[in-house]
Amino acid sequence: MHKIEDFLAASLRDRSLQVLLICVAISVVLMTKYQSGPWLSSPRASIDRTIGQLTGRMGWFARLVWLAEEYRTLYSQIADRTVELERLEELRRENERLRRELGFSPKSEWEFLHAEVVGKETGRLGTVILVNQGSLAGVGTGWIAYSPQGLVGKVEAVGDEFSRVQLITNYNSPVGVRIERNEIEAVVEWNPYLPNRLVMRFIQPEIDVKAGDVVISSGLGGVYPAGLRIGRVSKVTLEKGRWEPYVEVKPFVDFSRLVEILLIAPERVKVEMREGGLFNPAVD
């Protein structure tokens, strides 16, 4: 008994243990009581601005190396794309003409806002990025982030000059999807055990899905427009005791090497979805 008392007395005199207990107590209170709230948005916006300005400059060194490599790749792709674009432009005009003849209104044009990635989440999972466009440029919460490789995510919080983008690999970003080959619909969401991978949910056991299938957004749910490239099925397994197969999707976007993104206003997307006859709870 005396030994325990001595041990407790010695522990209470231990300065570092006292500090640890205080830190742990504060952290636990923060974790349980103050997970999030409106009071957090102001200090977070100030921190985002400071970090965005500093990391944006530091990131330039790394980006220069990647940009040189990307420049070589993209330069060769531009020629192909230019020819394809001309063909698509002709198809677009034809599509508009046919829609008018059928009495449909012409499809709305998307306006892209270009943004640079200036910061990345420093935590273990890395599913939030900071970009250098904010409310001053007209960006608002819910804007869609896209890159030429595919869907990136959506804007979660906006400051004056910077915005936080929640990647589709974030726990809070499920996406309604469709398998391009056979139009089967499902939902993809974050894979908590493997960063930069998604898991497909709400699929039937007898579903025809194979490794290599391309997955695109379905437009259901009212968050993302239909037809955006998301990723490719990388693994399909049927585990014992589970009726739903495990389908893993590898996104087309390499989130660890994102340098620039395009932001799309959700209003445009909603208009297009309504015209396309898709259910959109935010509008309908």
Partner: protein, 181 residues
């Protein structure tokens, strides 16, 4: 505050701030699949090795809180994990010969593994399979990568600031070369 202590504290602040900025900008490009070094956690472990548990716990808590405020979904997770790790690394390494490179690597690697164990246990409560998968797929590689990257970062910082960091110990330790069997 003594001049030496003030200089140490200033150096530690610069050390952590730079680690934070590098983690948010350049480190992402060094990722190998899901594995990437955690410079912030590595820096906290280095502070624990040098200054002991008292300073390291405060440093871990503050840098963790800043991490939570800057990108975290909720508050408290990183501050909790980092204070515990800083304390544990500072306390358990007090009996080790910390000047040795390999000792530092082992402390850094174990710090990341224990950090992730706590982190994933809080993130996926009650999910043993998820915890094991997270450790297997992410943590083991990240731990080794962090230990290697942080030793490079520490070496560079000491060269840039022309410092030769000494180790603060609570108990005297005989270097392994001088130990008589």
């Amino acid at each position: 505050m003594k001049r030496d202590t003030l200089s140490d504290v200033l150096f530690d602040i610069i050390y952590l701030v730079l680690a934070f900025l590098l983690q948010g900008s350049i480190i992402g490009y060094l990722a190998i699949g899901p594995v990437r070094p955690d410079l912030i956690l590595g820096s906290v472990a280095y502070i624990a090795l040098r200054r002991g548990p008292f300073h390291a716990t405060i440093a871990g808590f503050l840098v963790g809180l800043f991490q939570d405020l800057s990108f975290g979904g909720g508050l408290g997770l990183n501050s909790f994990c980092k204070s515990v790790i800083a304390f544990a690394a500072g306390r358990t390494s007090s009996g080790l010969y910390k000047e040795r490179y390999w000792t530092q690597i082992v402390v850094l690697t174990s710090s990341v593994l224990v950090h992730d164990l706590i982190y994933f246990a809080i993130l996926y409560p009650g999910n043993i399979r998820g915890l094991a998968l997270g450790i297997l797929r992410i943590s083991i590689g990240s731990a080794v990568y962090t230990a290697l990257a942080c030793s490079g970062y520490d070496y560079l910082m000491q060269r840039i600031f022309s410092r030769r960091e000494t180790v603060v110990r609570e108990t005297p330790v005989v270097p392994p070369e001088q130990q008589v069997l």
